[in-house]
Amino acid sequence: MKALTTIQSRFVPVNIENIDTDQIIPARFLKATTRDGFGKNLFRDWRYYNDDASKTRADFPLNMSQFDGEILVAGKNFGCGSSREHAAWAILDYGFRVVVSSFFADIFRNNALNNGVLPVQVSDEFLQRIFLQDNNTELTVNLEQQTIRINSTGEQEHFDINPYKKTCLLNGYDDIDFLLSNKAAIETFEKQRV
């Protein structure tokens, strides 16, 4: 997993609430057996008409040339629905390292963190402030400080993250290494519960 410390970047606003993982990556693109290449189908049915990659929807932010950056900003309850980790893989593969919303679904939050994508949960008010900024505005997300700042205005908010997950992300560690290091304790647990 790639470590993440500070991201300073412009952002892509998708101001829609309850974005489910079927929208992030539709089921018909889940047939791969690797983790690569999902970015091209990120938000597939909102990006194109009739599932045709030559017919882009001009009004969808990913297709608007003025928006760019490593930060995706979306409406509340982002990532609800299916547990497909392909949603996190698609977001990462497209080039995002941070998703900002005022509420995240649990499974998506875990999947993102397990892939080096940082979910930043902000207040509804702060989210609306971000949506009001123009397309040249940069955001700074500082994981060490757990802060997100709108650079042009200086407005800043603190965000929460589990301290263990923060350490993992700052260093690029994953849970499997940690669990494997606990094998002896797990085997002891198995023996004791029988």
Binding site: N18, L30, N77, S82, E85, L179
Partner: protein, 466 residues
């Protein structure tokens, strides 16, 4: 100290707790399928390690399989490669696979309970959000991502933070024509599609207690649609009677010992919950969704909400949802024409669901221009339906009985609803494009779906019941 059902099970599975961090939670059963496991096996192979406890893993092929001609090779190449990868991975790691052609094959959340693998007091995971289904037996059961599938393969454990606790109490007697699917769609319409995010939900109350195991599974299945980490129901005599005698159920003296343990699995009288919800069962009518998340549901006799009348959660999305659905604010839902009927999915594809549909449609015919797909949850459900002659009733009604799989619930295989068409579906999600790009899904109970199949429009099934 008084403990909840959730806490009693959780505490028995904590291997250790990290300071300021999550717990190492031991997992009893791990179900896998072809879509969310290949990358996890690849991860193991890269690390050069094997599955730690293969005898605690059960595999099946369900998401991506055809529901016609399952005896033939899968035509779609990517689907076939994914199913082949599962076969190879299970063989290499010593995992029991109930693949295509096996008499136990079926939707992962249907076969676990019907084989008796799912038991009270367990921790159960699967790379599928509807793993919450297994909570109906009084277990902690939740969906995980593929990285977490790899973690469980490697260590039989996960790192988990304890969720908050919610209890949803449903008391009273259900009205005629109202079934468990209506209960859960009603709860969703009250608390919204994010109303239980961050919570483990226990369903309790007299209306829940009176339900069969299959009906309880329908409710726990959709707890993820409220955002819940898991849904659960305390086990009771109904639970024990369902499990007894099933293939992997405990036998003899072991059975008595287990039942004695299971009887301790309930929330103590003074157990604390972070939130409690109270629902009057008698207030529930047959439900139907009109929008593009499962919280957007109404009683079948009601009108579609308007920007003024809708709850705060769904207000901002209402116009977009209705534009997608081709429906109008304030309009009646009853009488809306439908094109397809899908009766299946891990929510409603069990034998009781098929019996409910069969008893309603016996002697009736489907409406002209409507296509009806019945997709049983497993080979065992299919065999039972045939043994009971339910297949004949469907045939006479013009319904197509297909072979087991997830099918049109998510349209990964060929079973897709065409763009712009309306499908009344017993599945769990009405998201945009869920059943096929541009497909318009209305979620309902098997009974309400059967009524629409016969009339061709959204119908209040109560008007057709004697």
């Amino acid at each position: 100290m008084a403990k909840s059902l959730f806490e009693k099970i959780w505490e028995k599975h904590v291997v250790k707790t990290i300071d300021d961090g999550p717990s190492v939670l031991y997992i009893d059963k791990h179900f896998i399928h072809e879509v969310t496991s290949p990358q996890a096996f690849t991860g193991l192979n890269k690390r050069g390690i094997k599955v730690f406890r293969p005898q605690q893993v059960v595999a099946t092929a369900d998401h991506n399989v055809p529901t016609l001609n399952q005896h033939l090779p899968i035509k779609e190449e990517l689907s076939r490669l994914q199913v082949d990868a599962l076969i190879k991975n299970c063989a290499e790691h010593g995992i029991e696979l109930y693949g295509l052609g096996h008499p136990f094959q079926g939707i992962v959340h249907v076969i676990g309970p019907e084989l008796g693998v799912t038991q009270p007091g367990m921790t159960i995971v699967c790379g599928d959000s509807h793993t919450s289904t297994h909570g109906a037996f009084g277990s902690i059961a939740f969906g995980i991502g593929t990285s977490e599938v790899e973690m469980v393969f490697a260590s039989q454990c996960l790192l988990q933070s304890k969720p908050k606790l919610m209890r949803i109490n449903v008391d009273g007697v259900l009205n005629k024509g109202v079934v468990s699917k209506d209960i859960v769609l009603y709860i969703l319409s009250k608390i919204s599609a994010s109303g239980a995010t961050g919570y483990a939900v226990e369903f309790a109350g007299s209306a829940i207690r009176s339900l069969s195991m299959e009906a309880r599974m329908t409710i726990c299945n959709m707890s993820i649609e409220m955002g819940a980490r898991c849904g659960m129901i305390a086990p009771d005599e109904t639970t024990f009677a369902y499990i007894k005698g099933r293939k992997f159920a405990p036998q003899g003296a072991e059975w008595d010992k287990k039942v004695a343990e299971w009887k301790q699995l309930f929330s103590d009288t003074d157990a604390a919950f972070d939130q409690e919800v109270f629902i009057n069962a008698a207030a529930i009518e047959p439900m139907i969704t009109y929008g593009t998340n499962p919280g957007m549901g109404i009683g079948v006799s009601e009108t579609i909400p308007t920007t003024e009348t809708i709850n705060d959660t769904d207000r901002s999305g209402l116009a977009k949802s209705l534009a997608y659905m081709g429906l109008e604010q304030g309009a009646a839902i009853k009488g809306q024409k439908i094109d397809y009927v899908f009766i299946g999915s891990c929510t409603n594809s069990r034998i009781e669901d098929l019996r409910m549909v069969a008893s309603f449609v016996k002697g009736k015919k489907k409406a002209d221009g409507v296509e009806v797909w019945i997709v049983p949850g497993s080979k065992q459900v299919e065999a039972q339906a045939i043994q009971e002659g339910i297949d004949k009733i469907f045939e006479e009604a013009g319904f197509q009985l297909r072979q087991p799989g997830c099918s049109a619930c998510l349209g990964m295989n060929e079973d897709k609803i065409p763009t712009g068409k309306y499908c009344i579906s017993t599945s769990n999600r009405n998201f945009e494009g869920r059943q096929g790009a541009g497909a318009r899904t209305l979620l309902a109970s098997p009974l309400t779906a059967a009524a629409a199949a016969v009339t061709g429009v959204i119908t209040d099934v109560r008007e057709l019941l004697n």
